[in-house]
Symmetry: C2
């Protein structure tokens, strides 16, 4: 019989038996047709490849990640990541949902169709992360939106991470249940992804009792063992792979109870350490046997989600697999096959594509809705006083984590305006960018801040409003204008000139440029931020989370300064002083 | 906090880790709330039970079975089987579908709601087993019916056994694909159950290539290992549990790749050897460790189907579990809990129930549609000849299997009628019973047959038309009339009197009487059949498969004698003789 591809003499890894077998592999119509000895079977193969004993493993499956962390859309993500052997991902489009609501999720799914990689989706469950009184997001995802999406799109295979553990531990299960119960009625077999940082014992039971049964947060050895015992599936990302964790997994006794995932991979990280392939290499370095690592990145995640057509190299499964250079600990990819085709012969292009490329619909490329009246006076800080000084509440930026604390700073007042320029601080503005109100909240940043320039971004967690910080109006205005002209992005201004910039026109958060190009631009931006004296190992992450109202301790949204632990809006001038 | 039930000091089997731990177990709202030490957790339990170190294992899950094999409906099935520890089944309502089509499936689902046991369903994929030219069934299940059912009923969790392996091996995949593809579009994560008797190597690949990836047929050690290697999930029923098979499974290396199932359990078998609990005991007798047997009857089948809420004793799962008398090899059930309630305190009644009982809708209790004109002359065998003899084709019944072969018998002719009464044979009639046509085919049974009486049944595989066999008209008419009066069933007539009978008014195939009562009646029927000289270890099964047109070698339907391997209708008087 005619088949498309016959690979002979491969050392094929059998995930069911956990062993390597020298076998032939027949591929037909994008799926594996036969595994075994091809001799005497009467195969007439269009292509025959002698693997010469090379190791062949299933294509990798990443079930907990967010494509938006790569700053690009599905097509460019697929192009950059598929050649590394990641053939399937389950992405939670948390950021696109914050910008556009269900329409943003649908656009991501639509843009994924026709990608070479198989891209599935988890429904974001925490959009917005707070509420209308604390921030204005572009979109929200209601329980009813979630069921509509699950019913309409076969790509939706699970519920993305439920971030409601804190309210569950307080005994408030209402929001969690009202989100999950309608979904369970129509998709009773769908996984519900969890988010359970540091919790243990009875608290872990409380989250499991809500049938949230995975965790991708940073793991401790003790916490991971407890999760295994209680039936919580553990998703290990790069930072969780410590020598102690890997020591526990080495002998295979916990096989099937965990997988490897990436969660977030920025373009520069992709370049430096890879994607899920990099997580595997990290695990191998720490001594995890290749067999355990492969199972944890193929069969175990497939079983977790319930995929029946992938995660193994056996008849009926998709012909997604990787030929490795050898079985050494390096996990060096020799060739990747997707649907039976070698990836290097596919239309995986590095350019920005031609007319045949699937482009985002125009409305998603034009998401900034700001009033035309925005001008330099948006950076004025009027005051009740005419002259003198005033003591202001400040956000004190930590120079190593994404946390911040509350501080005080005294600034001069003249003719009814606070003089903040060229003082030991930045002015921070957050402008609502979805409804044309231009509603702007202002704050003061101390600790680490920009000197002699400004930075602006529309990729700001989680609502992605327009954030600008700087020590002078001219640079702030320059940065703002560049962003408006480019329909969103991130840029740095110094001396009235843009010194580094990345346009993110897709929702103001993503680019359709190739990821390797983005990587270079992001390194330039980080360098330009450091050149303005902003000290942080990851200046971009540090800056874009100044707005995250679920992270300690004080942040800023378009509604004002927020004490995140209590959800209070705080006045810029503390009441004790006014 | 208030909880419903606290079980202290139980040796709880952890399916994730494959080990026993002495733990406390807290139950709330029918689910497990906490597993661990209850001390200091502030639980206020409505009921506290000291398990005194007894073994506690998950409730059993049978994922390949047919409730109709028990000759009763879901309610009575649940009542008889749940107290044995089977808390969940996935049933394929193949027989009800043959009688009523999709409506019969829906009625089974409806009757299952409110049962104490959780009853899920697989969509029958082979109804009718042949086609309209070979037999008239009451219903059929089209691909479109299947998708409608899957979309409408959350109890539908998989596709029941695809019996199309023979056509797949012939290269004809059309019927299989046209059935499965629409279903996969709406339920991409649903399992497709297989039926792969004896096949191996490339043939196994062919079936797997159609993404049919389980097998519940009789296993050989070699065949089972091949299935494991190729990724086919193996479902081991009682007859597959041989010493050689169990030897392979003892050390746990194939854990997760197989489950224990029952397939068919008649009431007398239930009484003699139990249900899935009996399959477990058989496995233990042959040396399978209790731990492996429990996993194969709980966690592994749950994973196979994709159930996320059961199959383990851990927080969030349904509080379905069994307290065993001890951890010895007997698997003696001490107490069963379903949804956190002890089964012996539930409304599991042995009687036929009161007004509160869920009853089948009237139309399902009145499924016989026969013309009023049926009379004794339906048993006449007219002939072209006026006098002499005629040589007839016969079904030669094998006295040990359900197979039959073709034979010849010469009978006298007088006044244009063949004299079959009180000769060395039975007359066989099969009457279409759904459309009021009364279409009747006639045949002659030799080999083993009834002497001095008749047997009739409307529970006849797979179309469940009215089958009557006897050596005299008077008993055949008596048996027929009893069945019509009772709206279906099985009965034996001798000397013009009914000597044993079982009414099956629900679709003509099921009873709503308690299963223990059916067991006694079935033993009486088998005894009465043997008393008429019908030799067979399972006379009832042997008799009711005389009509099965997919079983070798010659069978009879309302359309006539069928050579089953070729699908030919054969004349009663062979052409060579006419």
């Amino acid at each position: 019989m005619k088949i498309d591809l016959l690979i002979k003499h491969a050392e094929i890894f059998n995930v069911y038996l956990g062993r390597w077998d020298l076998r032939d592999l027949a591929v037909l119509d994008g799926r594996i047709f036969h595994l075994g000895d091809a001799e005497g079977k009467g195969f007439e193969a269009e292509t025959v490849l002698d693997a010469e004993g090379r190791a062949l493993v299933p294509g990798l499956i990443d079930i907990h990640m967010h494509i938006e962390s790569s700053y690009c859309g599905p097509r460019q993500f697929s192009r950059a990541v598929l050649p590394r052997g990641i053939t399937t991902v389950v992405s939670e489009p948390h950021e696109m949902a914050n910008v556009f609501g269900p329409g943003g999720i649908e656009e991501m799914i639509r843009l994924s169709r026709g990608c070479d990689m198989d891209i599935f989706y988890g429904i974001p469950s925490s959009v917005p992360s707070t509420n209308e009184s604390l921030e204005t997001s572009g979109g929200r995802v209601t329980p009813s939106d979630a069921t509509t999406l699950a019913a309409a799109w076969p790509e939706v295979v699970c519920v993305g991470e439920m971030m409601s553990y804190a309210s569950i531990l307080r005994g408030d299960t209402e929001r969690t249940r009202s989100f999950l119960e309608p979904l369970r009625r129509i998709r009773p077999l769908a996984a519900v992804e969890g988010h359970c940082p540091d919790i243990k014992d009875l608290d872990l039971s409380r989250v499991l009792f809500e049938r949230i049964d995975s965790d991708h947060c940073l793991q401790s050895p003790e916490g991971m063992l407890q999760r295994f015992e209680l039936g919580m599936f553990v998703e290990l990302q790069y930072k969780s792979l410590t020598p102690e964790i890997v020591d526990l997994l080495k002998d295979g006794r916990y096989r099937g109870l965990y997988s490897l995932v990436t969660d977030d991979t920025a373009p520069d990280i992709l370049e430096r350490q890879g994607h899920l392939d990099g997580v595997i290499r990290r695990a191998l370095e720490l001594g995890l046997p290749l067999e355990e690592a492969v199972i944890a990145a193929s069969w175990s995640p497939a079983k977790r989600i319930g995929f029946r057509d992938r995660g193994a190299v056996s008849p009926g499964k998709k012909a997604d697999f990787i030929l490795l250079k050898d079985r050494s600990s390096r996990f060096e990819v020799h060739r990747v096959y997707k649907n039976g085709h070698p990836v290097n012969r596919m239309t995986v292009r590095s350019g920005t594509g031609g007319e045949d490329e699937l482009q985002a619909a125009p409305r998603f490329l034009d998401s900034l809705n700001l009033p035309s009246s925005l001008s330099a006076d948006m950076f004025d800080l009027p005051c009740d006083k005419e002259e003198g000084t005033v003591r202001l509440r400040t956000i004190v930026k930590n120079s190593s984590t994404t946390y911040s604390s509350e501080g005080r700073l005294e600034l001069p007042v003249s003719k009814g305006f606070i003089h903040w320029e060229n003082q030991s601080c930045n002015l921070l503005t957050v402008t609502e960018r979805y409804r044309g109100t231009g509603e702007t909240a202002k704050g003061i940043l101390t600790g680490t801040y920009f000197r002699g320039g400004a930075v602006a971004s529309t990729h700001t967690h989680d609502s992605h409003n327009l954030l600008i910080a700087g020590d002078n109006k001219r640079d702030m205005e320059c940065a703002r204008n560049w962003l408006i002209a480019h329909r969103g992005g991130i840029c740095v201004s110094r001396g009235g000139q843009i010194t580094a910039a990345l346009a993110l026109p897709l929702g103001g958060i993503l680019s359709e440029e190739p990821m390797e190009k983005l990587s270079g631009q992001m390194i330039c931006i980080s360098d330009a931020m450091r050149a303005l004296g902003f000290e942080h190992p990851n200046p971009l992450m540090s800056f874009t989370t100044l707005t995250l109202p679920v992270s300690p301790e004080i942040k800023i949204s378009n509604k004002g300064l927020i004490r995140t632990l209590t959800g209070e809006i705080l006045p810029l001038i503390p009441e004790e002083d006014s």
